[in-house]
Symmetry: C2
Subunit: 195 residues, 2 copies
DNA sequence: CGTTTAACTGAACGCTCGTTCAGATGCAAA
DNA sequence: TTTGCATCTGAACGAGCGTTCAGTTAAACG
């Protein structure tokens, strides 16, 4: 029964990754079996190995793609000059990027433990670059005299944790629009760091 | 070889829970086997069932005890009258309680998915009580005219996420003392919500 | 000192796991 | 129409899983 109509590698590959992402976000990497993922796509477990060398690499690729997309999108942000404007851009960008991707956020922040040491190091390095981008803005604001905080590094971590925490309570059918959430959080961020 | 010297239920019970907590925090609930936990304590897997009816209950008890201890400690906070003072007490309390318990924080925030529906509901209800305590303070501050924010519920969630995020980067042998961390975060919290 | 019993061992239960692979299948090229 | 090959099936591999339980051990009790 192999090679049904319209069942090609170009289509099955993404379907495998989508199913893996959703299942891992829901139940966790260790709790999801290759058979479950295959079943979600409508195939046998063995066929998954046409699309990934092993389960670990499947997880790593999901997390890597998320981080690559995040850093690429960040790079495309129009870089304004004033630190306050840059911070607002960063804040709104973070929310706009993460809110529509709850599964990626879940996996990227909860499955770090299940990465092999080498894979963990690569993901961690990308996360670090993202954190550094925020810290740069905070330092620039301090130099301008527009911002004032006790510790730029810790403040960067604090702000990212606050923003990413949205995924803990946000529901697409909830009472708040993304735009409203941006306004609420930008208000908090701005007040927290400005002089 | 059963019943070695000094090996009684009063001692083994806590050792089982300590081992389970550390291992689950490190590798995740689904990735840790009963045999691993038993091995850490120096016994066979079957003997664990003298101390827990099953693996799920072991996880639930770890999370329940953490939340019970958190809510009990919160209750013992001397309740001052001014909202600003209450918010400072809450902020410093949260940090002081969570920083020395990184494993409990990890487990309580990452293993919610692995709780049975009934157990999840119980933990979630306790978390809700904690969040409500903070929201009460924010509302009181608004009524006083001392605080100003767009949405008290969302702000409460944002602040808790920010504070709990400390566990993502804090290391006991790092450059910062708990007292210093309290100062940094209280500065952020206060500025974010005051008028 | 003999008996009881809490605490534990070690083996077993049925099941699921990640992964491999020979063989089946059907589209595309020749 | 025949051939080649990408794709998938279905079975199998050894290993480990949570849990149960009859039997062993040694501390505590009468």
């Amino acid at each position: 029964m192999a090679r049904k109509q319209g069942s090609h590698s170009d289509i099955t590959g993404p379907r495998v990754r989508d199913a893996a992402l959703r299942l891992i976000a829901q139940h966790g990497y260790a709790a999801v079996s290759m058979r479950q993922i295959a079943g979600e796509v409508g195939m046998q477990a063995g066929a998954l190995y046409n699309y990934t060398p092993d389960k670990q690499t499947l997880l790593f690729d999901l997390m890597k793609d998320h981080m690559v997309a995040l850093l690429a999108a960040l790079k495309d942000l129009p870089s304004r000059t004033e630190a306050l404007a840059r911070l607002e851009d960063f804040t709104r960008f973070h929310i706009r990027f993460h809110v529509p991707r709850p599964d990626q956020v879940f996996v990227s922040y909860m499955e770090l433990r299940n990465l092999s040491p080498e894979n963990f190091a690569m993901i961690e390095a990308m996360r670090r670059r993202y954190e550094d981008a925020l810290e740069d803005i905070l330092r620039a604001g301090e130099a301008e005299g527009a911002f004032d905080m006790k510790d730029t590094r810790v403040t960067a971590m604090a702000l990212i944790a606050m923003l990413t925490g949205i995924s803990n309570w946000y529901r697409a059918d909830g009472r708040l629009e993304t735009e409203t959430i941006e306004t609420i959080y930008w208000d908090l961020v701005r007040k927290a760091v400005t002089t």
